[in-house]
């Protein structure tokens, strides 16, 4: 609702006056910013005060630190950039095999391999700052205090528009706990909230009985938006060797295989929380992204599809635009939460509502 009220003012005018308090400095720093060709439709959305020219983000862990993709796509087309999880210290990651294909998806247990926050700030951030899309950094801690410190350090950096909290990585010891226990989830988000005024976006695990309980806990803790879903814990066995196909035994399932679960969880959560939801899980095409928007997501992230086609995210953006043009939807925000549930006959004895 708030979103619609803020439309009274043209977003371009306010951008030119520099009134976007939470707009990342990095997004403005480039001289002669390319203006996208004028389009008949408005794809722009706003998530927790972060303005995005379209609702397409990259899912953390599937987009490296963006540079890996620069030769395959125009990174400035993205609505926002979410980069791979950063921890306090460098992490070597898990023993191989770390990935295995599964039906319509893959299992991974990378183990949060990353260079650590200080190297990230020194070596990765300067490049990310040269890109236009708002930058959302994703951090993971081993304790509530870790999350507080990581958030504080990241928020101090120029060019960071928001912090996504990875409280749900299934592949590191303890990583999952923060997102399966409402109390812990609340405490992590609260600690991060106290450390910065930047938007805080916890990323939730689908491996829970009641996702709306966790979503409620993190909004109570001060979350400005919610990302969901992270991967589903899964397992695959090589029947020839009788060994698990993943070195870590279990891994996180991603790809189109999990999309129906993700859409359902976005729908469940978007109805009960007051903050925007960033939906993700198996988005490969524009239609996939639309499912999430219609189910209630304000923005969506392309994840595993980036691996099979490094230009996937841009193709989704172009597909969204085509859909809006073809269906005469001038503003993509009309679609958000526009799910139509046909009335069921009373005889069924249950209600889809």
């Amino acid at each position: 609702m708030e979103m619609r009220e803020s439309r009274a003012e043209s977003r371009e005018e306010s951008a030119e006056r520099g009134e976007l308090s939470r707009e990342p400095r990095g997004a403005r720093r480039k001289e002669g910013d390319e203006r996208q060709a004028p389009s008949a439709v408005d794809l722009a959305v706003e998530v927790a005060g972060i303005r995005m020219k379209n609702p397409i983000l990259t899912a953390s862990g599937t987009f490296g630190y963006a540079r890996e993709f620069e030769q395959y796509m125009n990174l400035n087309r993205l609505g926002a950039l979410v980069v791979k999880t950063i921890t306090r210290l460098p992490r070597p990651g898990n023993p191989p095999p770390r990935v295995v294909e599964t039906p319509a998806g893959m299992l991974n247990a990378i183990g949060l391999q990353n260079v650590g926050i200080e190297t990230f700030i020194r070596e990765k951030l300067p490049y990310l700052r040269t890109l236009q899309p708002p930058l959302i950094v994703n951090v993971a801690g081993e304790s509530v205090e870790d999350f507080r410190e990581l958030t504080k350090r990241m928020a101090d950096q120029e060019g960071v528009a928001g912090i996504e909290l990875n409280i749900s990585c299934p592949n590191v010891a303890g990583g999952l706990d923060f997102s399966t226990d409402p109390n812990l989830a609340y405490r992590v988000v609260k600690a991060a909230r106290e450390a910065t005024s930047l938007p805080i976006i916890p990323k939730l695990s689908p491996n829970v009985t009641d996702i709306s309980a966790i979503a409620g806990a993190v909004t109570d803790g001060g979350a400005d938006a919610i990302s969901l879903i992270n991967t589903l814990v899964g397992m695959a066995v090589d029947v020839r060797t009788r060994q698990p196909k993943i070195g870590n035994v279990t891994g996180g399932l991603s790809g189109p295989a999990i999309r129906p679960v993700a859409v359902r969880m976005v729908w469940q959560v978007a109805r009960v929380v007051r903050v925007p939801v960033i939906g993700m899980g198996g988005i490969v095409t524009a239609d996939d992204a639309l499912e999430f928007l219609i189910a209630g997501a304000t923005a969506v992230a392309v994840g595993t599809a980036n691996f099979i086609d490094p230009a996937a995210a841009v193709k989704v953006i172009e597909g969204l635009e085509r859909y809006c043009v073809a269906n005469e939807i001038p503003d993509i925000r009309e679609l958000i939460g526009s799910l139509q549930i046909p009335r069921q006959g009373d005889d069924y004895g249950w209600s889809a509502r």
Binding site: P96, R98, V99, E101, A104, Q113, P256, F307, P310
Partner: protein, 270 residues
């Protein structure tokens, strides 16, 4: 980039030679580099597959009259991905990404290259032999050791002969060449070679590579290996294709980006 199947023909039992017409693919590649190949499949199989480049033919590609640019790979039908590839027909569209990864380093002059390939590990090694022949440097004619379970696993002998190499074939069942493991024949060669400076280039199944790496260490011959790993993206984003390395603080390198070619001494062999 978009490509289409030019041909997809059997070259031995269970092995096929796939030519992909890809006008935008660079003419020059370095032996060892690979491509990610993805037929227009929709979910299962889901990921693209990595294949070493065997050859790029067709030259210019700009002139419409000229022969089309063809990226060639050889593959063995093993799982879902290769079964799907084996069904591809000429003209069908296919996505390729590449060339990706690093490459074999060329030896110094005077060094005798020892090329070692097991089964479907042969394409990058055949590409390397060809690269030796067309490069401006004068190399010694390579010694080639090809191994397989049976004669059907021995591919590309002609390529090596055309590149001026001496080819030693071994099969486990003795159906072609010497009977036994490739390393049974490589070992005496390495220890009795009259040339002081050798350099091994190897690609093949993990067991063979491990044995070759050990032999290289015993005989103090430098050795480069092209390795394989489960891989999702091929360009360093997924970090899935980790390989354990020695003397590296991170402990792992990525096969797609840091490799697929490694100095055999760098790898922790299991």
């Amino acid at each position: 980039m978009r490509a289409s199947v030019a041909y997809n023909r059997p070259i031995s039992t269970g092995y096929l030679h796939l030519g992909l017409a890809a006008p935008d693919f660079p003419t020059m590649f370095r032996a060892g580099e690979f491509v990610m190949v993805r037929p227009p499949w929709t979910g299962d199989p889901f990921l693209p597959r990595a294949f070493s480049i065997y050859r790029v033919s067709g030259g210019g590609g700009v002139s419409p009259e000229g022969p089309p640019r063809i990226v060639e790979i050889l593959y063995k039908v093993l799982g879902k991905g290769t079964q799907c590839l084996a069904r591809m027909q000429p003209q069908q569209e296919i996505e390729i990404l590449g060339p990706l990864g690093n490459a074999f380093t060329l030896p110094d002059q005077g060094v005798l290259p020892v090329l070692v390939a097991g089964g479907i590990g042969v394409p990058p090694i055949a590409a390397l032999a060809r690269q030796f022949r067309i490069s401006n440097f004068e190399f010694r004619n390579p010694e080639v050791f090809l191994g397989g379970k049976t004669s059907e696993d021995i591919l590309c002998v002609k390529d090596f002969e055309e590149a001026g190499a001496s080819v030693h074939v071994t099969t486990e069942d003795g159906s072609l060449g010497g009977r036994g493991l490739l390393t049974d024949f490589l070992r005496p060669f390495l220890f009795t070679a009259q040339v002081t400076r050798l350099r091994i280039y190897a690609c093949g199944p993990p067991g063979m590579l491990t044995a070759v790496a050990r032999l290289a260490e015993e005989s103090a011959v430098p050795c480069e290996v092209s390795v394989e790993a489960n891989m999702a993206c091929g360009f360093g984003a997924c970090m899935g294709c980790a390989i354990e390395v020695k003397a590296d603080v991170r402990g792992y390198k990525l096969v797609c980006k840091d490799g697929p070619v490694f100095d055999s001494r760098e790898i922790v062999w299991r």
